[in-house]
Amino acid sequence: MAAVIVDARNLLCPMPVIRTQDAVVKLQPGDSIRVLCTDPGVLHDIPAWCRVHGHEVCNIEEQEHEITITVRVGQSG
């Protein structure tokens, strides 16, 4: 299944985390989600949110002022 994409560009934390959380709720364990962001705060906040919920950060890409974080949904949902 192709990764769900969440566009959180131009949003400041914690909004990208909230958008990620709201998208993950609708997914199944093992599904992936790609979150597009511009606030560098996500480099800390999205991995921290994933750790407390048992999700896995698979990849972080940084290009110019854009950051893309790929998350795989864990068992605890």
Partner: protein, 347 residues
Amino acid sequence: MPRQAKAVALISGGLDSLLAARVVMEQGVHVEGINFYTGFCVEGHTHAIRKKDRQRPKRNNALWSAEQLGIKLHIVDIIEEYKDVVINPKHGYGSNINPCLDCKVFMVNKAREWIDANGFDFIITGEVIGQRPMSQRKDTMPVIARDSGAGERLVRPLCARNLPATLPEKEGWLDRERLYGFNGRSRKPQMALAKQFGFEDYAQPAGGCCFLTDKQYSVKLADLWQTRGTREYDLDDIMLLKVGRHLRPRTHFKIIVGREEGENRFLEGYRKRFTSIIPTSHTGPLVLIDGELGPGDIDLAARLTARFSQGRDAALVTVEVRQTDGTTHSLDVIPMPSDEIPGDWYV
């Protein structure tokens, strides 16, 4: 074997809510955290915007607390619903535009809805009697419990022994003797308890966690409401109040002047919503114009823009004015001398 009780803790990112959750976890209760995002939260924003602050280690303190506790944290966007709390607070404002008591009632009520929807038993807050002048007083504690609808399902573990027994104590989920009786503004008992639990490096915000308690911010919000003739706002409005210098040279418009590269980049995102000005002959700020412009207003805004550029002492500064549809034109203007800018233009 009796079932394990479940509680949700309001986690602000500060020390008190961290300790309150931990005190309850110590008694074998399953705890998850909830954090409400109002749009006015201090957490992270200015650090994210201002370039100089990006060098600091940045973290979301509510998430940090959850990690310390080893619990899930549910972050809830309440921006829209929260407007009514800010605009029409039943219990009024504090010393600024801070509706602290209504805010606490609102958040506990949202937590009550959450526990009802998720099969949890009670709510934990880090409130301490006498800690805050508006919302954390002996007489406001029952108001919050009553008006939120939480009633006896609201537990304040740090000051519970100064309050009537709650449902979890009556049910035997919590042993009252292992709760605390903190009272007053002193932080020493909390710091001692943090040490006992091994918590270090916890957040100690100097001015609280909400921009509405900040005098300068409240002045800008009051200015926005007054000049618009309505107390409505959207998220962009309240974000922009956190950024740049705000000058109102005329009642019908103000300018927002980026103070450094990070703020200029943030303001760039608003050039389709506001007319903007940027110096082209000299290095300088991006300036947004909020309001309806009349004759001569663009020249005035351009001269102010030039004043905040590196060309402030030059005879002429060239600026580019961009309309919201992307069309642009250039202007050559004389920078406005500092002593010609009245102090009351600064919002």
